[in-house]
Symmetry: C2
Subunit: 105 residues, 2 copies
Amino acid sequence: MDPIARTPDPPYYVTIFTSLRTSGDHGYDEMAAAMETLSAQQPGFLGMESAREGVGLTLCYWRDLESIRLWRQHVDHAEARRLGRERWYSEYRVRIARVEREYGG
Amino acid sequence: MDPIARTPDPPYYVTIFTSLRTSGDHGYDEMAAAMETLSAQQPGFLGMESAREGVGLTLCYWRDLESIRLWRQHVDHAEARRLGRERWYSEYRVRIARVEREYGG
């Protein structure tokens, strides 16, 4: 995956997942890789950017709110979120935002 | 700074800065620390989250678009952006988005 997502002209949406991990793996790496692959196959997926350095930041770009809603309802994603709350994250925030401008160099 | 920003109830705005660095420091660390301190002093600043792991992600949360516009016009920030384009970043994207929902655990 390209480290900088190739997104279309705005508007589109982004889900911002900010997290602090618990210690140990407990199946995290395997599930994170599976979710990255699966999310990229969903309708309306536009790209992903992520980095962890103390805090973890995962940004997923989506065509519209309906695409985000459908991915949220995916049964494997629901199970991953349940395990995340139970095992992997000591704290997290999810923010959903509408991208209005984009530029770069 | 708290690694997970303590933002108010939406709506508010976020600037998402995604970047790939050139090799070497060339004054980057000093300028990055100065910009982190200075941005947090600006009117409408709500918080910041950042991580670099291959790609760098810096999220700044703002009360409104006017706050983002004023920070963009700050002379020291304009100079930092100029040096960034010239020396520090091989590639970058800036996205401005309106946060509509937030939840966590």
